[in-house]
Symmetry: none
Subunit: 184 residues, 4 copies
DNA sequence: TATGAATGAGGGTTCATTCAT
DNA sequence: GATGAATGAACCCTCATTCAT
């Protein structure tokens, strides 16, 4: 890939990341290209579908999330490792306005996004849940997908919301996993 | 108010309720007026702001939710009463696509919605939480507002989501309230 | 229909007729609405599909063409009547740039156009052909549809073409019908 | 000209011929360059104007048409020779969607195309017409240009048209030339 | 008061043409 | 010379809101 093209792609990804966190993943294409300093045609060349852009923007951060799991598992008790990793994922989701909606949209534009998320983060979270369950710190009554989606929804950033809200709610959810009682 | 005007308002509220649960609170105005069998002008006459319509549609259901609390408190143990009431609220939220986003939008269009919600449901939920705390069934470490918003987010209906997802997650959250451990 | 709406529809049809003869049936919608002095929304309200507009523009003229047949048949020898009617149709086609292409486009936008044309003009032309054949003035070796389409193609107006070209060619074609020889 | 440049020109001409017959002479440039396996820049280098490409694509075929006339004149009666040559020209036009429109477009892009056509094919057709007129088989009441353009229009390929349509119409036109009556 | 026609800004997408590599 | 990335004007269409009837 040519250097100028690479530069533009980078600029678009950076701009999209910023705009997504401000105006959501449905933000006008023009807003992104203006911030990136390129023409709209350049956006459509590199990302013919909106989901291609979303996927690309999210990809690197998802990968970083997945990569963080082994180190946390090695450094902490299983229950703590799980909590810390969810903190990590929470921080990621908190900058992706519209992410939860995109996951469930049913819009063909966003096909592939749920699959990508589960493929990358499902195994990492499952191993953390398994370890915490084995050690007795958690009663695993939730699937990795349910938990990821719950965090995605709870931590979906809202313009008028205090920043710590999502973390508090996820902590409460994890407490629910610890309790020995069955759900109603 | 003339009877025909009253009839139109009723038709609009009923139509809006249906459309909101199908296409979200951002649905085109035309969709609502067509279903109600009135012209768009009639919608704008009675509900100059979109939020006026949303508020009116939600009002009666919110009131019904609030009214359900005393009966549940009288008929069940405090912890059970709390869980049942949250089920009730969950069912309400599940039909209000876009409701959680509207609560936090910051868009002046939706001013007044959060205040109305808290004014009506805050006291009802607080008394349930207080009773459950007093009986030792719950370690109340969450405000009524936090909990209402958490349910609103978790149960926000998504096109491609299994129907029972929201209830499972809320049950898990309630379990978190029962556990004696402190959040991280 | 309200008088203002009727006035706009008339203005749109008049504008479309003018623009079609200048820039073809694929002309930008804006060009038509500007000439009509209305907003684009008004065009889309009355003619959701481009073909709806084309059909409406052509309709009245097609009907007039069809209506002319009986009078010509009564006033002239069959062969002459046929030639005169084709002159009439030629004059109509000469103002409809892109009309022939629309007839065969295969574009779903133009579905219904060939059917409408044949339904309205087919019978009129067939009766003229039948009469001319019966009187021996013509060897009917062509279907009404073939002939209509031939005229549509031959008389399709072109910016740089002398005005009388189409009429000369149609006259030649009619001579072909008169000749007793069979085609190769 | 370098051999690679020559090769690219050939590839472009071949690709353009194919695309023209499929999608018309207004087809996107990219379609042509992709089929040719070259970049768009190469197209614009060799054919700065769209008409340059069209002209070049058509040139060889026009020349072949012109060259066919003497052989046909030698092998057949004048009338037959004329018909056969028109068949030849018909086959050529049938693969050049948009060709007739380009001839009359008035668009400076297509300047030179009508002149080239007449310069090459006019004499060939005139000599055939002259011979047929001299032998009495044809009452030549049409100029070579009129006839060429009539065939170009009648045989302009349309997506939804039966393949034999053009030939039938041209045959009818030639019958018109045979008839001794005068046009109206 | 009710209606629904009209407006036009706004967002999506394509593609001819230029120009950096 | 060849390449194909970038540009941005141009067109399409939708829908919130206003206002004539």
């Amino acid at each position: 890939m040519r250097t100028d093209a690479r530069r533009n792609v980078e600029a678009l990804l950076e701009a999209a990341k910023t705009v997504f966190s401000t105006a959501g993943v449905d933000a006008p294409a023009k807003e992104i290209t203006d911030l990136a300093g390129v023409g709209v045609g350049t956006l459509y060349r590199h990302f013919p579908q909106r989901s291609d852009l979303i996927k690309a923007v999210i990809e690197r951060e998802i990968d970083a999330c997945a990569d963080a799991a082994p180190a946390l598992a090695a450094a902490h008790e299983p229950g703590i490792a799980l909590a810390r990793w969810l903190d990590r994922f929470t921080a990621f989701v908190a900058t992706k306005r519209g992410f939860a909606a995109a996951l469930h949209s049913g819009d063909p534009t966003f096909d592939g996004l749920p699959g990508y998320l589960m493929q990358k983060l499902g195994p990492a979270l499952e191993s953390l849940l398994d370890a915490a369950t084995a050690s007795g710190e958690v009663q695993a009554r939730i699937s990795a997908q349910d938990l990821l989606y719950a965090v995605a929804k709870l931590c979906a950033p809202m313009p008028n919301e205090e920043p710590e809200y999502g973390r508090r709610m996820v902590a409460l959810l994890v407490d629910g996993l610890r309790s020995g009682e069955s759900p109603h």
